[in-house]
Amino acid sequence: MNPSTVTLHDMCLRDGMHPKRHQISIAQMIGVARGLDEAGVPLIEVTHGDGLGGASVNYGFPAHSDEQYLRAVIPQLKRARVSALLLPGIGTVDHLRMAHDCGVRTLRIATHCTEADVAEQHIALARKLGLDTVGFLMMAHMSDPAALAVQGRLMESYGAHCVYCTDSAGYMLPGDVTARVDALRAVLGPQTEIGFHGHHNLSMGVANSIAAIEAGATRIDGSAAGLGAGAGNTPLEVLNAVCHRMGIATGVDVVKLADVAEELVVPMMDQPIRLDRDSLILGYAGVYSSFLLFAKRAAARYGVPSVDILVELGRMKTVGGQEDMIEDVAINLAARKQSRTGADCDHAA
């Protein structure tokens, strides 16, 4: 089943905040957002990597507040709408009201894939404020399709217009995506859209997105130049070209979007977005993509291999938001190493 139209939703200014340690400048935000708008991208997300209220020691302090970014970007756009992300437990309804006040017209409320009920008050408020309301089920690989569908149905019941299957760890293969989108499509009402958010940690971003589209998803996340956590999001300009080739209408110009990626986003990168060993193991082990840079830093600080840290986080079944456990694991691994070798180890403590 090939829907004729999908809505592409760019993530490079929100998920892209992760590889940029939340330091994207206002000028960069405006430049990229305008470029995306001119290419025809209909939806652009602008928020701290961890959503509204994410500014913290645990996730990182951004160069500017959500409010500053939103008020700078939104007035610059001609057609594109701006969305904000919110994770209950980190952001609150107060942040939601602020975003609405800034001109955000799509509000995406994200929970771990088994915890939709923490989002009830947020989804209900977004709906009441007349916002396009999205329920975002993260780490969806950790739920079987039937269980995911139950949570999706809950989000719909609270007022979500659209429910997302989110592959936060870049763990899924196309069959996993098909099964989950099928399960959602079977229980959600026909008026409720389904979305898919991919990460490229097993190089499956585009393939997974096409699988989602073929199962009935009509909103797909991706990032220009893939700028996003882990090995990046589904590279949006690549997905756009593939959609054009397959006769799926996106409304986004292939060359113009590739221009934005090449000329605006790539030069912004602190390090190339690449499927390196760490992001491969992260995806393979099913670990939340934004843990990548934290794991690399903890590895350097405590003298333990980042791969070991990531594997342990996967074994512990950590979920999104648990960045504090990265340092805790690194300290434990370093202590274990020290007691094994019996030698003095210089902890950077």
């Binding site: 913290s56 645990n58 088994t114 009920d117």
Partner: protein, 307 residues
């Protein structure tokens, strides 16, 4: 087990997990005696257990308790219901001269974090104290331990709780948890600015509660003094929460100080992984015992209505 006649009689409002665990802790106390449990669900396990333990019970809610308050000399009540009904409960109980210990995030009264400020509540004639939140009880003592050594510009706590240990009340009150805990961090922990984050994790077997405290100081940390202060505070909390453990830290990184904690429950009525509930009930009983001592000694005399 014979108990002293000077035990202060208490009521437990709310027959869920927290109320029931509170009851078992209160039954072991020499200073308070749980005389009543109030619920709204006649089939609830908590009410059945309360009856089996010799408490009087009602499933008709707070209004059914009120006629017995004076007759049964109820002086203290624990409110383990929810934020939305707390105000009403507190009004009724206070009007009858009952001191209320609020375990919801309603936070009408001042915050009570026993190892930090229990003594401050004595002698003030307060009729309502709030226990902040599970994350607050686990972390505010640590923030206070650090701020006692050096000024804390900003303190942030991350509470991670097993999904099974977070009931409907917690889930509906997620925002309230973060707000009330942040304010508790500022007012009782003495950080200039506070933030609280809560994460639910459904992993099986259920994970034991973890709490992380990040403090940003105004100046470079005095590492030895901070370490000593944190360790001393951990020992104080362990007096009434034996499962409270310093897992790692304090870790120092520039002006950042981070402390990694685990809170395991006693594992009697509630499972071991429900340390988040255990620390709430233990703290509440600790507060109640302090007030009970005040009442029994005559130092605290809440206004009683005419008989």
């Amino acid at each position: 087990m014979s108990k002293s006649a000077s035990q202060v009689q208490c009521a437990i409002v709310g027959s869920g997990n927290i109320g029931t665990d509170l009851m078992y802790k209160a039954l072991r106390s020499a200073l308070i005696r749980p005389a009543w449990m109030v619920g709204i669900d006649a089939e609830s396990d908590g009410l059945a257990r309360a009856r089996a333990s010799g408490l009087r019970t009602t499933s008709e809610g707070i209004d059914a308790l009120m006629p017995f308050v004076a007759r049964d000399s109820i002086r203290i009540a624990f409110d383990a219901t929810s934020a939305s009904v707390h105000r009403d409960n507190a009004q009724k109980l206070n009007a009858a001269g009952v001191l209320v210990i609020d375990l919801t995030p309603a936070a009408i009264g001042p915050y009570c974090v026993p190892p930090v400020n229990l003594g401050e509540h004595a002698g003030r004639g307060e009729m309502n104290v709030n226990m902040v939140s599970c994350g607050g009880q686990a972390t505010i003592p640590i923030v206070a331990a650090i701020s006692q050594v050096q000024a804390v510009a900003y303190a942030e706590i991350v509470a991670t709780v097993a999904s099974k240990s977070a009931g409907p009340g917690t889930r509906k009150n997620i925002d309230e948890f973060t707000r009330t805990t942040a304010r508790g961090i500022e007012k009782v922990g003495n950080a200039r600015s506070g933030k609280a984050i809560i994460i639910l994790n459904p992993a099986e077997p259920p994970l034991v509660m973890r709490d992380t405290v990040h403090c940003l100081l105004d100046s470079d940390p005095d590492r030895d003094s901070i370490r000593r202060s944190v360790e001393a505070m951990v020992a104080r909390v362990q007096h009434y929460v034996p499962g409270f453990v310093l897992k790692n830290g304090p870790v120092f990184d520039g002006k950042r100080v981070s402390v990694f904690l685990e809170v395991a429950g006693l594992g009697e009525y509630l499972p071991r992984y429900s340390g988040n509930l255990d620390i709430m009930t233990a703290s509440a009983v600790c507060a109640a015992e302090m007030f009970a001592e005040e009442i029994a000694s005559g130092r605290f005399a809440p206004p009683r209505p005419a008989a």
